[in-house]
């Protein structure tokens, strides 16, 4: 392994930061908007949907897909930055 320990630690720390940010959105759209604050959000409308209901049955799922693709993009960039990418 050609990576020095400090560089490795910085890579891991950035990875954990990325995870923390993405997972807080994961929590917010599902447990937050879809469950905890669903009644408050249901007073707002999105077309024919009540917003809380929309997050619980549609919005959270769309967000999950987007989160994974952001993660893929972000981690690929991070791997290149720290030269730990494959080939």
């Amino acid at each position: 392994m050609s990576t020095s320990p400090t560089k490795m630690e910085r890579y891991w720390k950035k990875n954990l930061q990325t995870l923390a940010i993405l997972l807080s959105f994961w929590f917010l759209v599902s447990f937050g908007f879809g469950i905890i604050w669903v009644e408050e959000l249901n007073t707002i409308r999105l077309g024919g949907f009540k917003l809380g209901f929309w997050f619980a049955q549609q919005g959270s799922i769309y967000t999950f897909v987007v989160l994974i693709f952001i993660y893929v993009y972000r981690m690929n960039a991070l791997d290149r930055e720290f030269k730990v990418n494959e080939d």
Binding site: L22, L23, K50, S60, I61, F64, V72, D79
Partner: protein, 561 residues
């Protein structure tokens, strides 16, 4: 052509396709049998994972459950998709970098203990068997409903097909069959959904149609809230479950999803760490197509059902109601003798009994679609059940041939190991078939069981195994056992020992057996951490292994010891 001919034709053609793929892609080595040679493209793996994941329950039952529970059904939608975020971010890339064949492989190596490996094998077998029995039952149900065969015969035919391509093809055969099965099942799910969305709301995209307006200009969901309230039910967009229970069930399903061995193992089949991340994204995108359409199918289904039956004359019902009465999925009893159907929340006055599976299985008929669409839905349901069953059977056979035989008899040749894997797969098919014919409980309950177990056993130790260098074998073994025993006891108590006490008043902190996996997971975390800090740290080479799996560089294909 009549309905039965179309159904036989479409189911027959798809079966022939699966068998053809199995012959073309049969496995020649253990590496091909376990991880498809490690050369599956991220897109193909995403498709295969989606089919592997979406079971008979997702395809046939989920929309129906939402139809009758409205907002409360959201726990399944969020739970069974949100788990992929955890899988993609926390597990898949690292397990791929680790580069072995199975989940017990990781547990055994990371916790430098064959005892830990055996505990993991037991968890994997337990989870996979409870899950696969449900799938076999699902295959039998589809056969009996559409092809007018007894359930037993349906299970036997399903067993024969899975036997053929799982035993012959291993992971390689299963992967490419699952790609085909995804295409069949998603097409079968969306065609009726699109037509019904158009008929009801004028919008061809079901996901948008759910927020659309019905003929009189009122939004569908508001209309449904009003109709259900008039009949004495909860409003569709409001729920009955408490917030803590919703929270815990969703969490248990998410974490359980991320901990299911047949899903995790799919990420061992791609060539690179980068591909593991990307294929998790593809997998969830493909799953989301069905999972965002399901709530639309659910709302359309319950709306159509009520509109075409409630207060309608018994002698003037639409043909689909009469058809499905014959299969006993719809029951009508004119209790007050007025010649009309009253569909009411009050069980004493309600005259209409509807099975939840109707919402998907009868959807083509409800929308008056041609017979080939009905046949297509049958083929789709079969694809969903078979693809999941095959993935599970592979985990079972791998656990036995590799994690048990190979671990304790490391000198056996590749050829012999492959033969043992095939024999184990064959044995597993037979056992699964037996459970399919004599099911241990309702399909949905059995599946809930599997999630609780995956959440409370695997997820915490794998996660800590990657993100903590301090967790040792004592902690992992104690954590897995504590989580598993707690969760099994709680579920068994309320589901099998004292089902009469299975109400919110008796549950601990209002958590239903479906959500208890979350608490089992928390217990596993606490025990794992506590015991690890009281016992010596893992050896140097294990700490080195953890550092290595954290960076993508240097991932070879999944390799043998």
């Amino acid at each position: 052509m009549d309905l039965l001919t179309w159904t036989y034709l479409l189911v027959g053609v798809t079966f022939a396709l699966y068998i053809g793929i199995a012959i073309w892609s049969r496995a020649g080595s253990t590496q091909e049998f376990y991880v498809a040679g490690g050369g599956v493209s991220p897109l193909a793996n995403g498709l295969a994972t989606a089919a592997d994941w979406m079971s008979a329950a997702s395809f046939m039952s989920m929309a129906g459950i939402i139809s009758f529970s409205g907002y409360d059904g959201s726990v399944y939608l969020m739970g069974w998709t949100g788990g992929y975020v955890l899988l993609a971010l926390l597990l898949a890339p690292y397990l791929r970098k680790f580069g072995k064949f199975t989940v017990p492989d990781f547990v055994g190596d990371r916790f430098y203990s064959n005892k830990a490996r055996v505990v993991a094998v037991i968890c994997a077998l337990f989870i996979s068997f409870t899950y696969v029995a449900g799938q076999m039952r699902g295959v039998g149900i589809v056969f009996s409903r559409y092809l007018e065969l007894p359930i037993e015969w349906g299970v036997v035919i399903g067993m024969a097909i899975v036997f053929f391509y799982a035993v012959l093809g291993g992971m390689k055969g299963i992967t490419y069959t699952q790609v085909a099965q995804y295409c069949v099942l998603i097409f079968a799910y969306l065609v009726p959904a699109i037509f019904i969305s158009m008929q009801l709301t004028g919008n061809p995209i079901p996901q948008l149609g759910l927020g659309g307006e019905v003929a009189d200009g009122v939004p569908l969901l508001d209309k449904l809230d009003g109709i259900l309230a008039d009949l004495g039910f909860e409003e569709y967009t409001a729920g009955k479950k408490s917030i803590p229970d919703l929270f815990m069930i969703t969490l248990a399903l998410m974490v359980g999803t991320a901990g299911l061995p047949h899903v995790i193992v799919r990420f061992f089949t791609v060539p690179k760490v980068r591909d593991a991340r990307l294929s998790a994204g593809y997998a969830l995108a493909f799953i989301a197509i069905l999972y965002t359409a399901a709530p639309a199918v659910a709302a359309f289904g319950i709306y159509n059902t009520i509109q075409s039956t409630s207060e309608k004359s018994i002698n003037d019902l639409p043909p689909w109601v009469i058809n499905w009465q014959q299969t006993n999925l719809i029951g009508i009893e004119d209790k007050n003798g007025d010649g009309k159907i009253q569909y009411l929340a009050d069980p004493a006055a309600n005259e209409l009994r509807i099975d939840k599976d109707i919402m998907v299985l009868a959807s083509p008929e409800i929308a008056a679609l041609p017979n080939w669409v009905v046949g297509l839905v049958a083929a789709g349901a079969m694809a969903a059940a078979l693809s999941t069953a095959a993935g599970l059977l592979l985990v079972i056979s791998t656990s036995i041939s590799r994690d048990l035989f190979k671990t304790f008899q490391p000198e056996i040749s590749d050829k012999k190991e492959l033969r043992i894997a095939r024999i184990a797969a064959a044995g597993a098919v037979l056992l699964a078939g037996y459970f399919g014919i004599n099911p241990p409980g309702f399909v949905a309950e059995v599946v809930a069981f599997a999630f609780g177990l995956a959440a409370s056993s695997f997820f915490p130790v794998i996660l800590l195994g990657i993100f903590s260098t301090r967790i040792n074998k004592e902690g992992a073994i104690a954590g897995m056992i504590a989580g598993l025993v707690f969760t099994v006891s709680y579920i068994s108590y309320f589901k099998f020992i004292s089902p009469e006490l299975n109400t919110a008043a008796h549950w601990w902190w209002g958590i239903s057996p479906e959500g208890i996996g979350s608490l089992g997971m928390a217990l596993n975390f606490v025990v794992c951490y506590g015991v690890s800090y009281l016992t010596p740290a893992p050896p140097k080479e294990v700490q080195q292994l953890i550092q290595e799996i954290r960076i993508p560089k240097g991932a070879g294909k999944a390799i043998d010891h």
